[in-house]
């Protein structure tokens, strides 16, 4: 099972990454872009968390009662905790800017706002 699907996680990571990136580039709606950006970032979380898994391991919370317990790698988890925070911070700031754009232009479509800028 592992042999066949050992890379499946990575492929899903790639697919999610692409879906997010496509949304960010191809959509003109600013809220949709932010959602796409969040998806794009969370795909990377999947990449990191996939590499932390050890076959037969458990979450890295040390247990004295089970000698010889295998633990999964804690470091990628720490990194991703930080990355999740970065993601939500970017989302919050981006959405506040979208709100202001809507107030200033009356639209949240990128091309319409750009057209108004040119005029």
């Amino acid at each position: 099972m592992i042999e066949v699907f050992g890379l499946f996680n990575y492929w899903v990571f790639a697919a999610l990454l692409m879906t997010g990136l496509y949304t960010v580039i191809a959509k003109t709606n600013l809220v949709k872009k932010m959602i796409g950006l969040a998806m794009f970032q969370s795909a990377v979380f999947l990449l990191y968390i996939t590499m932390d898994k050890v076959e037969g391991g458990t979450a890295p919370i040390l247990r004295n009662d089970v000698p010889g317990q295998i633990y999964s790698n804690p470091l990628p988890q720490v990194l991703i905790l930080t990355a999740i925070v970065v993601g939500i911070a970017t989302l919050a700031l981006g959405l506040s800017i979208v709100v202001r754009i809507h107030e200033a232009y009356g639209t949240i479509e990128e091309d319409e706002a750009a057209k108004m800028d040119r005029e």
């Binding site: 590499m51 470091l75 930080t82 990355a83 970065v86 232009y105």
Partner: protein, 504 residues
């Protein structure tokens, strides 16, 4: 000695600690004084670091006293020190004029928040350049990016909002690409410490993920650094940001991204990937050449907004820096790194002058520039000095960098001599756009000004003028006596080009 050991972290902690305090200060003046003090302290730290680095190759600082690959390590060498100098210098100059310049751009009831964001940007950029850990660089990259978005979003006109949204999207994509690259390298080496990574990467036999990581990191940072085809966010962001913030951002933010790019490409990949030099040259040189030519041409065709013209010129100058780096020789890298410093000086001066011209929150259009030579002679004179530096006239700092670029290219033999041509063409283009601005400033007379405003002296307030004069003087000073940045740049190039096994 104990004070000296803590120097690397002080560059980050001072602005980081002051930022929450500034947020709590409601008073505009008090907040400004605290911010300026913090920025100047950080500048002092940077200068002390440069002094301390004369005797040692690098200063390492293990955070929390944990040994290097397990804990996070700060590592300051000549390259980082030079960048730290640029960041803190630009920030101090921008903050010193911010009190006068922000009036009419950022309402006084939210200026303390603005200054908080400013300090966070300083801390983020400083954190990037002193860090010796790949993931830590990402964290501080995000601190600086988010803070920079806030700085740009403070612009008084609504295009600032769309500009900053574009920047936010592109910047986040860039940072996430970087994160993917770091993840792939971590996957294959099991470490995040840069020095450790350099050692361990040579043991990796399956190179595909490393190659791809190289691609992701290069593209991601190229987005942040506005290397030519990925520069779309830059003109809008520079044009619509508040004037004081433009001084700061234009002088250092792309350069810090370039710093990380060079650090990765030369420190990590150089010597570990087969034919890295040749590949880097093949990819980066054409981009650099196109950037120099196209962006300069775009600057010529920008006939409305002075800041936008200068922004295009910045893209061209990123091209110069990449050009130097892409030569991948000692002279080339020295030239590229030196040009970071010199371009920061010249662009800083120009944007400082633009801030004076646009005082009160007006857009710096060519119409507004018209007749500035009579109204504000000192400002315009400083603008001319900065412009000459941009062109690379002998006697200004800009000349030294370009001279080394030419020498570095010529060293490569006949093909290199051919590459001098775009350098010269781009400089001629620079003459054209700088001259046009100067012409408008001295000889232009705006329609509106003819009727209403007579040619009275109307210089900017004294603090702004003083900063501007110091900046212009620095352009000339480092033009005649370039030894300080030159030595640092040479040593930085040496560090970058040293093969991993020769470090220890």
């Amino acid at each position: 000695m104990s004070g000296l050991t803590h120097l690397p972290i002080l560059a980050v902690v001072v602005p980081l600690l002051t930022a929450p305090l500034v947020a709590l200060l409601r008073d505009r003046t008090l907040a400004w004084i605290a911010a300026v003090a913090a920025s100047l302290c950080t500048l002092a730290v940077a200068i002390t670091l440069v002094g301390a680095l004369e005797s040692v190759e690098y200063l390492a600082y293990p955070l929390g006293s944990w040994p290097a690959p397990y804990g996070i390590e700060l590592r300051v060498d000549a390259f980082s020190a030079l960048l730290l100098l640029i960041v803190t210098g630009a920030s101090s100059a921008g903050l010193l004029i911010a009190r006068d310049s922000l009036v009419g751009e950022v309402g006084s009831e939210r200026q303390h928040l603005y200054l908080t964001a400013w300090l966070l940007a300083v801390a983020g950029l400083a954190g990037i350049v002193v860090s010796g850990d790949a993931f830590n660089i990402f964290v501080f990259l995000e601190v600086s990016s988010l803070a920079t978005y806030v700085l740009i979003a403070g612009g008084p006109r609504r295009p600032a909002l769309t500009a900053v949204f574009n920047y936010l999207i592109m910047g986040t994509i860039g940072a996430t690409f970087y994160l993917i690259g770091v993840g792939l390298i971590y996957m294959m080496t099991g470490t995040l410490n840069l020095a450790d990574m350099e050692q361990r990467i040579s043991g990796v036999t399956e190179l595909k993920p490393i190659l791809v990581a190289g691609g992701f990191i290069t593209i991601g940072l190229a987005l942040k650094a506005a290397i030519f085809p990925l520069h779309a966010w830059l003109p809008g962001a520079y044009t619509h940001a508040p004037h004081a913030a433009t001084v700061f951002i234009a002088a250092c933010s792309t350069k810090v991204a370039l710093y990380v790019l060079l650090r990765f490409d030369f420190f990590i990949f150089q010597g570990n990937l087969p034919d890295h030099e040749a590949q880097f040259r093949v990819f980066a040189l054409p981009l650099a050449v196109v950037a120099m030519l196209v962006a300069s041409a775009l600057a010529i065709f920008e006939r409305r907004n002075l800041k936008r013209m200068l922004a295009y010129s910045s893209i061209a100058h990123v091209g110069y820096i990449v050009f130097g780096a892409a030569l991948a020789t000692q002279t080339g890298l020295t030239a590229g790194i030196l040009h970071m410093f010199n371009h920061a000086l010249a662009k800083g001066t120009l944007f400082l002058a633009a801030a004076s011209i646009g005082l009160g929150g007006a857009a710096v259009t060519f119409e507004r520039l018209a007749g500035a030579g009579r109204r504000m002679p000192i400002t315009t004179a400083a603008f001319v000095v900065g412009g000459l530096g941009l062109i690379g006239i002998p006697g200004t700092a800009g000349f030294v960098g370009k001279w080394y670029l030419v020498v570095g290219a010529a060293e490569l033999g006949p093909a290199g001599v051919l590459m001098v041509v775009p350098l010269l063409v781009s400089s001629v283009l620079a003459v054209l756009y700088v001259w046009r601005a100067i012409e408008v400033a001295y000889f232009g007379s705006p329609d509106s000004a003819r009727s209403s405003a007579p040619a009275v002296r109307a210089e900017a307030p004294l603090p702004m003028l003083a900063v501007l004069i110091v900046a212009a003087a620095a352009n000339l000073w480092f033009g005649f006596l370039p030894s300080m940045p030159l030595t640092l740049a040479e040593r930085a190039a040496e560090v970058l080009l040293t093969e991993p096994d020769q470090h220890k």
